[in-house]
Symmetry: C2
Subunit: 261 residues, 2 copies
């Protein structure tokens, strides 16, 4: 063991510092640095389908391919802050709006050759947005679009993997957390909430059973007092609810079969 193997801390052993890795003063420029970026799997529901925010690459490598939005972590910000900043930039939403969105760190992708140009370590996030405004067409060449999940070709880099991991994570968290409300506007019907589960899981749920389960879970949703109904589509008007205090579901709301996707 090393007297100053400072894991969460700064380096105590410089790569190539000699046999045994004797600690020496750390020189940040002594070896090729890592770039640290964030990648965002921004998910929303549109027309009963799961959509992802994608950007088209204008340059090599992967020119013409679609990719997840993302960017560099700046020297004085955390990965979370970088992710929220990028999210605001890409979606065109205000900083305050973005501050309220559900943003969840997925995992970090660090394979040495995931970017052919240099060593890039990327912290991936899943972001869940309710209504899905069209992304503002940034000032540059590439375009950004909401694409139905699965309809895009292969994504650039390892972004297919990241997106799949995001989908899996969100699907799993729907089972035992109140995360579904993150896809909904402030006030929503139980039908809309059920639509979240059905869309993400790719299954059909029994209406009455879903209703019973949700209402029986304390703090999942709370009824809105005012006008007890919502107009819009056909069928009987539905009561409105807000997200409740609870964050976890006990017992969970399990997916019909073993696993999906």
């Amino acid at each position: 063991m090393n007297g100053d193997r400072v894991p969460g801390g700064g380096p105590g052993r410089r790569p190539g510092a000699g046999p045994g890795g004797v600690p020496e003063g750390y020189d940040p420029y002594a070896f090729e640095p890592f770039a640290v970026t964030v990648d965002l799997a921004v998910l929303t529901l549109r027309e009963e389908r799961l959509h992802v925010l994608l950007v088209e690459r204008g340059q090599e490598p992967y020119a013409g391919h679609w990719a997840l939005p993302g960017g560099f972590v700046l020297p004085r910000e955390s990965a979370e802050r970088a992710a929220r900043r990028e999210l605001a930039e890409e979606t065109g939403l205000s900083e305050t709006t973005v501050a309220g969105l559900h943003l969840e760190q997925l995992r970090t992708y660090s394979e040495p050759d995931r970017d052919p140009r240099m060593r890039v370590v990327s912290v991936a996030f899943a972001a869940l947005v309710p209504d899905a405004p069209e992304p503002r067409g940034g000032g540059d060449a590439a375009q950004a679009r909401w694409m139905p999940y699965g309809t895009h070709g292969p994504l650039a880099f390892d972004h297919d993997r990241i997106l799949a991991d995001a989908h899996e994570r969100v699907g799993a968290k729907l089972e035992y957390t109140c995360l579904a409300t993150a896809f909904c506007p402030p006030e929503f019907t139980l039908g809309e909430l059920r639509q979240v589960y059905e869309t993400v899981w790719g299954v059909e749920l029994d209406r009455p059973n879903f209703r019973r389960k949700v209402l029986a879970t304390p703090g999942f949703v709370q009824a809105v007092e005012g006008p007890p109904r919502l107009t819009g589509g056909r069928g009987k008007p539905a009561a409105l609810y807000r997200a409740g205090e609870a964050t976890t579901l006990h017992p969970p709301l399990l997916r019909p079969e073993g696993r999906s996707t």
Copy 2:
């Protein structure tokens, strides 16, 4: 948006590259680099208590404090490989043994000031080891020890947070995965498996109910044929089992109350 905002990929915009972040050739030395490390929360069970592998820091900052083991990600390895390499170094286990251990990426900690010396982004892992050999006293000054979870003082850097996150993650995954067997040797009794749950969750579980649940879950454990019992302690000898094929538990084995820790 940027024509080459290459998130999971290499930089397309260099910090400070000018208004609008016009893509230019990337110069890795143009700004202070990030160091990328791994931190390991190595957990095991000893004498019916959860133990953590800790190393004592010999240098400032946090000299004399205990810290999680860890180290640098080398230029040509992934964070996972770095974690496994460090795990082998710290525990003294062979590379092949370590290759079979459960290693799970927790999340990445990237607060700008988490290390006072420089910008360090750390990918944290939880490792679950069965028997807990004493860590080899490395060739250097600092010592490494198994410490009962919670008995150590405040850890260095943000390692208390990382360790708490590791505990929470492992506790949660016991509910809906077969992870508990990762704490057990190749052959184990149901009593030992129950001990894993009780120790990590800090609760007592009903013996017959636990047994019924585990045996009713297909693929969780499989009975060992040979000698149908194990010697050792007092009480009726228990049958031996191995870990089964299954990785997930449907339905889950929920903790008694809402949440713990």
